[in-house]
């Protein structure tokens, strides 16, 4: 048996074990762990999956995914919450039907994603990164300053308004966990499916050889734009789950620190494969949870600072040592001792090292 086949078999076994563990998780972990770590990891994982989908298969590292998540959350919050007599609720407080609001929030976010994508479709590599960062900051400032949509303070109590088939998202957190798990699984299947469609194949061609694909007659900017729209769709799902999980949405949820947090998740998981999204989310949240409790109230010993200094340092080390994150280390373990580089391994080699392979990106723009 070839090494690649063994690897595929091992990965499949790990995958099945992980899914089984995830399904049984409510019976294995405490309510706090389930809600604070696992549900959150699933939701951030979905958002990170949209980032990794764009980077691994479209060659575009987008920093706008948190902004899109936030737009979706804000749209939902503005549409479902109702004006409570006596109580002050921020935003438009339209009080629409929750099912309609969810559909509209997803639709609006996807359209915004397509517009963003159309503008960015002719930028590649580092330019794309900068432009999407600008999108993200603009979205943050927009929701922070426009009082009609909520302004500086959060829109609260969004998860009290859910459709009947979703159920009680305020108290039934186990139900929320399973919904997040199902959506995460669907997103994973969707990404894997799209990659096998003609669109997905062309997208990967555009990632590797934009000039050649263009001369073969493919519309390169159009494929980039559509991929960005799909990424926005996935991010909008994460946005809705996020609001249900947190109950409220505030400008800070789509700020620069949040943007970088998601990037850290994606990079630590690995920017080359979509599985890395949930791996990275789980790893970062575990570090976050374990470390934050242990930091003294007056800051870290010697240097001072909080959790962010640690996660920044971890991020720095990961980018320096293994730019492909934890999955990069996994891939490397399997290629240890290989000198001849058998042909069965070639496609994977071409896929790995997204960050390093961007070297020539400027020249091909």
């Amino acid at each position: 048996m070839t090494r690649a086949a063994t690897k595929a078999r091992v990965e499949r076994a790990i995958g099945i074990a992980a899914v089984a563990l995830a399904v049984l998780a409510p019976f294995l972990f405490t309510a706090f762990w389930l809600d604070a770590i696992l549900t959150q990891a699933l939701i951030f994982g979905i958002a990170a999956a949209s980032l990794i989908f764009l980077s691994a298969y479209g060659g575009m590292i987008s920093l706008a995914q948190v902004a899109l998540l936030g737009i979706s959350g804000y749209m939902l919050g503005n549409m479902v919450t109702a004006r409570v007599p006596g109580g002050e609720t921020k935003g438009l407080t339209l009080g629409w039907d929750p099912t309609l609001a969810i559909v509209l929030a997803i639709l609006i976010t996807t359209v915004v994603g397509l517009v963003f994508g159309a503008l960015a479709s002719r930028s590649v590599g580092i330019y794309f990164l900068m432009l999407t960062l600008v999108y993200s900051v603009i979205a943050n400032v927009f929701f922070g300053s426009v009082t009609q949509f909520g302004g500086f303070s959060p829109i609260a109590g969004v998860n009290s308004y859910t459709p009947g088939f979703v159920g009680d998202m305020v108290n039934d957190r186990q139900r929320l966990y399973y919904i997040a798990l199902i959506v995460a699984a669907l997103v994973y299947v969707l990404v894997r499916f799209v990659l096998r469609t003609p669109f997905g194949l062309v997208l990967q061609g555009v990632r590797d050889e934009p000039v050649r694909m263009a001369s073969l007659g493919f519309n390169v900017p159009l494929h980039r734009m559509l991929a960005f729209g799909l990424g926005a769709f996935i991010a909008s799902l994460a946005g809705i789950l996020f609001v249900w999980w947190q109950g409220q949405i505030a400008p800070g949820d789509l700020g620069l620190p949040a943007t970088i947090y998601l990037l850290v998740i994606a990079v630590i998981g690995g920017l080359t494969r979509v599985e890395g999204a949930w791996l990275g989310a789980l790893a970062v949240l575990l570090i976050d949870n374990q470390v934050t409790n242990r930091i003294p109230s007056d800051g870290l010993p010697l240097i001072g600072g909080s959790f962010n200094t640690i996660i920044g340092a971890v991020f720095l080390v990961i980018v320096i040592v293994s730019p492909d994150g934890l999955l990069g280390i996994w891939e490397r373990l399997w290629s240890v001792g290989r000198h001849d580089g058998g042909s069965d391994d070639e496609p994977e080699r071409a896929q790995s090292q997204v960050i390093e392979s961007q070297e020539g990106a400027l020249g091909t723009s």
Partner: protein, 368 residues
């Protein structure tokens, strides 16, 4: 020209024309439908020319500050293809360092009256901040960026990591001079103080406009930085090497020039410019946590509009961005009792969209 190419141009032209007409003629200070909003704080340029000139000056002087910060960012990118995502963090760090130095020198405590600061007490904090931040930039460049030349995304991620750490450390340690009894740190807002002699209004003899001398100084410093950079890049040997490096790095290296040394110099100068910008910006407004992201955005928008690595582009981008920002903040409809519109960030996005739709490489950027 075919209609498909002409139509968007006409559309943009009409849009820009409407914007100009709106500011010049159409806008009125009257209350709009519903009574809860006004079109502007004051009338159109015809109604109220003094306000129009004041907003123009606000834009131009802000452009001076933008240029100082963005030219440093653009210099580093143009030469090394390094997008320094920590540029905003350098700005913030420099602002706090300068604040501490000024507090030490004037010894007044938290808030210094403008009259108590002489020119030296403003220039020395700037020099100290510039030197320290330039050294920090050099360390970052040598330790983290010099060995992975050419991997631009990896370098951007590394500088993002640096910015996360620096932002957190700033919150942990700055400001150190605080009100008696208050805790140190927290990244609270502090401001630097302009020298006392700038604290007055200048009569411009145009529609009776009186304008702040400090803001005019801001513009003067921006222009001085621009002229200095131009002389350096176009009249010295180092500048020649930098321009050669921007055009063709491999060829420059092949000629036996030590490009690594030039990279280090450019990074030092770029970081120092962030520091100069921080002192100017911190004197005009304030320094507080969160501004690192804001100034990174400002630098990004300026260079995306103007074109990467072009001095002229940075100047044009600063001016365009600052004017659009300034006019939209003053002339877009205002809701409620607020002084300013909430929608000026939308105009930033529209400006960006318009420029990118026609010139993805920016106004003065070279394709490819």
């Amino acid at each position: 020209m075919p209609l498909s190419r002409l139509a968007p141009r006409l559309l943009v032209g009409a849009f820009v024309l409407f914007g100009i007409l709106y500011v010049l003629v159409i806008s009125t200070p009257s209350t709009g439908v519903g009574g809860n909003w006004r079109t502007t704080n004051f009338g159109s340029a015809l109604d109220d020319p003094a306000s129009f000139v004041r907003v123009l000056l606000d834009g131009i002087t802000f452009a001076g500050l933008l240029f100082i910060v963005a030219s440093g960012f653009s210099l580093i990118f143009g030469l090394m293809r390094v997008v320094n995502m920590a540029h905003g963090s350098f700005y913030l760090l420099a602002g706090y360092i300068a604040y501490e130095v000024q507090q030490e020198m004037s010894g007044q405590g938290y808030a210094i009256p403008g009259t108590d600061v002489n020119t030296w007490e403003w220039v020395l904090p700037m020099l100290v901040a510039a030197v320290l931040v330039a050294l920090f930039g050099l360390v970052v460049q040598q330790a983290l960026l010099s060995w992975n030349q050419g991997q631009d995304l990896r370098q951007a991620l590394i500088t993002i990591a640096v910015s996360v750490i620096v932002a957190d450390q700033i919150i942990a340690h700055f400001p150190r001079h605080v009100f008696a009894g208050a805790a140190r740190g927290g990244g609270n807002a502090v401001s630097l103080t302009w020298p006392g002699w700038t604290n007055r209004l200048v009569d411009l003899h145009v529609w009776g406009v009186q304008y702040s001398l400090a803001r005019l100084c801001m513009l003067a410093i921006g222009v001085a930085v621009g002229v200095g950079l131009w002389l350096w890049l176009y009249r010295t040997r180092t500048g020649m090497v930098i321009r050669a490096g921007v055009d063709d790095r491999q060829m420059t290296t092949a000629l036996g020039i030590n490009i690594q040394r030039t990279f280090a110099i450019a990074f030092v100068v770029g970081s120092a410019l962030a520091a100069v910008g921080a002192v100017v910006g911190g004197s005009q407004a304030n320094i507080s946590q969160g501004q690192d992201g804001q100034w990174l955005l400002n630098a990004l928008v300026v260079v995306i509009i103007g074109g990467m690595g072009s001095l002229l582009g940075a100047a044009a981008g600063s001016l365009l961005y600052a004017l659009v920002f300034s006019y939209s903040a003053s002339y877009l409809p205002v809701v409620g009792d607020g002084c300013c519109t909430q929608y000026s960030v939308v105009s930033t996005f529209i400006l960006l969209a318009l420029v990118l739709a026609f010139r993805p490489q920016g106004l003065f950027g070279r394709a490819g």
